[in-house]
């Protein structure tokens, strides 16, 4: 890619020309409150209003989220999971937004928000069931207010708007007491923004002014496709065309992400309508464990992003101001290690599914024809037990 104009301000936009000769506007401008080296900076519009304890809690969630991800990736490499979608590098985007969720809010995730899942109280072993293939999606999405993962790109954006429409009708938006209000936080990726479903979701949300926060983790890649294939302008600006306020935030800065998401969720809960947040981050790992990024992206790019690690800067910051000490960090490491052990051992001990249980999940009540099909299956399986006397094939 050839840069034709770059202003001296690193935050200003630049125009790049692709090998095919297309001009694209690129901008690295975003809201940032904590720099990659761990220094607090001021922003004109957003400020972080919480104490050090909140930041330390965020650090904890990020470390635990990363540990889960590391363990799951390793499990997949050993053949113990069918697949895993790594969240490595996206911890601040996930934890910062997750920290903004309050009592009545609903979260509608994509398939990579493992750190948010942990924050919502989803048991990591339940999360792994889907990827190990021992269940479909097996956590209580109502109790955790963390909906099922969605694997068909972009579909969940519409579901989030519909859920928010329901909230409007149920009177949980715009009440004087903030505790009586809720909103929907929906996650999707940069690639997903190309889906018709996502555009339609933006149309509906704007039309009905639903309490929906669209949280896009722009991790720069949709498998092998760079963001330029999906958008010729900084993604957050696309929302403007739909009449939805939007903002871009440093997705590797957990303070900024939390501040921006709190603002957006507050707007939504108050009844001021939808917001579109672009969290500018990076998928440090492969798309999934079946992917090989060396085929399409450069090591230098990965290295540049590694220097912007979302966890390191928070650790540096908190240590620097004495908000946490080494003992606290060691304790956190021990907690992460315990999570790692639980995930490693628990994954292998997950109960194996039985096909006969799945007919009953197909309809509210099992139609006779399906019951007969299940019974025939059971009789067929039993015929092997009779034949070899040791149960099953």
């Amino acid at each position: 890619m050839v840069v034709v104009t770059t202003s001296t301000d690193p935050n200003a936009s630049e125009t790049v020309v692709t090998p095919g000769g297309t001009r694209i506007e690129r901008s690295e401008e975003f809201i940032q409150l904590l720099t990659p080296t761990g220094e607090r900076v001021e922003d004109e519009t957003f400020s972080f209003t919480h104490d050090d304890a909140t930041i330390a809690a965020n650090l904890r969630h990020m470390v635990l989220g990363r540990r889960l991800d590391t363990e799951a990736t390793a499990l997949q490499r050993k053949g113990q999971l069918g697949l895993w979608a790594p969240s490595l590098g996206q911890e601040a985007a996930q934890v910062g937004s997750g920290a903004a969720i309050a009592g009545l809010d609903e979260v509608i995730p994509s398939y990579r928000e493992h750190a948010v899942a942990l924050m919502r109280g989803v048991d990591p072993l339940d999360l792994l069931k889907t990827f190990r293939g021992t269940a479909m999606v097996d956590w209580d999405s109502v109790a955790t207010r963390f909906h099922l993962y969605s694997f068909v790109i972009g579909t969940q954006a519409l579901h989030a708007v519909g859920y928010a429409m329901g909230m409007q009708r149920d009177g949980v938006v715009g009440n004087p007491d903030p505790a009586d209000n809720g909103a929907v936080l929906v996650y999707f990726g940069d690639g997903a923004t190309s889906q018709g479903d996502v555009s339609e979701a933006l149309v509906f949300a704007a039309s009905y002014q639903t309490p929906t926060v669209f949280f896009v983790q722009n991790n720069q890649w949709a498998i092998s496709e760079p963001i330029e294939i999906q958008s010729r302008i900084p993604l957050y600006r696309r929302a403007t065309g739909f009449g939805i306020p939007s903002v871009r935030v440093d997705g590797n800065d957990v303070l900024a992400v939390q501040s921006v998401t709190e603002w957006a969720l507050d707007r939504a809960r108050r009844g001021d309508g939808p917001t579109f947040i672009e969290a500018f981050t990076y998928r440090m790992g492969a798309h999934t464990t079946s992917d090989d990024p060396t085929k399409y992206r450069r090591r230098e790019e990965e290295a540049a992003w590694r220097a912007k690690d979302p966890i390191e800067r928070v650790r540096t910051y908190l240590l620097g101001r004495g908000a946490v000490d080494q003992a606290w960090l060691d304790e956190l490491d021990a907690e992460a290690e315990a999570l790692g052990v639980r995930v490693r051992e628990g994954a292998l001990a997950l109960p194996e599914p039985r096909l006969e249980d799945y007919w009953a999940l197909t309809y509210a009540s099992l139609p006779p024809a399906l019951a007969a099909q299940r019974d025939a299956y059971l009789a067929y399986e039993a015929s092997f037990e009779d034949a070899d006397g040791e149960g099953g094939r």
Binding site: G82, I153, G191, Q195, A222
Partner: protein, 325 residues
């Protein structure tokens, strides 16, 4: 001239030949450029034919198929890749309401020479939406040609025949067979696109199948021959239109038919084939037409897919039941 290669390589070679043969042929899809597609079917094709002819599409299946329709109106011959079977549905409207009926709607003036490649079927240990068998939705749609190769040889030739077809072709690639090798004769196509193939000859019963299940059926037939049973195996190859003559000729001889597919049972292609057999071969039948299929539920978690999918034992069990009549 013949070469041993995997089905994945055969498809790649077939697409390469199609791109060489006709400058109007274009490829489009998600991740098909640098990456060569998640299954590497289009590996190096963008490098060799350029980004204008091998296009990395934005992540939108309706967009991919809808814009391909427009390209076809301009005389191009788009070959689109849907990344996985479960992701074709955003394009379903474009395929069934637009692509399939352009000839009909235009009173025969326009044609739609498009190929929609879909890796399909299960047994790869995948998560949800990556193991679907959507063929019946397409065979139920008049105007679409629906085919599925089962060997590298057929893959190599059928993809080129599909590209040459002036009707839209839904091209279903049995992804669990991508890495299996076979002999590919590069000189001439063995059969026309719409012909079924008798893979194994037999006289006691006919197994009718396609795509991923052909190999399984052949294994079952060979196992049955060990017990003195002579089972015929037909690879349908074309699911729509069906090669009824080959089906009927076989069942008239054997008097017994068993259809095998991964897709769920009800309303599946097996139901259509069974109906045609009873219409055409009623007096030759010695037993009811049986089906060995996936069950009537969404595709289950991968740790039980082996129980869900037809296998050798289930096919042999059906053969036994048929012969017991």
């Amino acid at each position: 001239m013949s070469e041993t290669m995997t089905m994945a390589k055969a498809l790649n070679a077939g697409l390469r030949r199609a791109l060489e043969a006709d400058p109007k042929v274009l490829l489009a899809g998600e991740d098909i450029g640098k990456l060569g597609g998640v299954f590497r079917i289009t590996e190096h094709l963008q490098r060799d034919f350029g980004a204008d002819r091998v296009i990395d599409s934005p992540l939108a299946e309706s967009g991919i198929v809808g814009t391909s329709l427009g390209l076809a109106l301009r005389g191009y011959r788009p070959v689109v890749e849907i990344q996985f079977d479960g992701f074709v549905w955003p394009a379903f409207d474009q395929i069934t309401s637009q692509v399939s009926r352009m000839r009909f709607r235009s009173m025969g003036r326009l044609s739609m020479p498009m190929v929609i490649r879909i890796p399909f079927g299960g047994a790869i240990g995948a998560i949800e939406h990556h193991s679907e068998s959507p063929e019946a939705y397409f065979t139920h749609t008049p105007g679409l040609v629906v085919v599925s190769p089962s060997t590298p040889l057929d893959a190599y030739w059928m993809i080129q025949q599909a590209v040459a077809s002036d009707d839209p072709v839904v091209f279903l690639e049995p992804k669990r067979r991508y890495h299996e090798k076979g002999e590919v004769d590069l000189t001439e196509p063995p059969l026309p696109l719409d012909a079924a193939r008798v893979v194994l000859q037999g006289s006691d019963a006919t197994l009718l199948t396609y795509g991923p299940m052909v190999k399984t059926c052949v294994e079952a037939a060979l196992a049955a021959s060990g017990e003195g049973r002579s089972i015929e195996v037909i690879d349908l190859r074309s699911l729509s239109p069906l090669d009824e003559a080959t089906i009927v000729a076989s069942v008239e001889r054997t008097g017994r038919a068993i259809v095998v597919h991964e897709a769920a049972r009800s309303g599946g292609l097996g139901a259509e084939i069974a109906a045609r057999i009873q219409e055409s071969c009623f007096y030759a039948l010695e037993a009811p037409v049986l089906r060995v299929t996936g069950y009537d539920m969404p595709y289950p978690p991968s740790r039980v897919e082996a129980q869900y999918l037809p296998d050798l034992d289930r096919i042999l069990d059906a053969v036994d039941r048929s012969l017991a009549h």
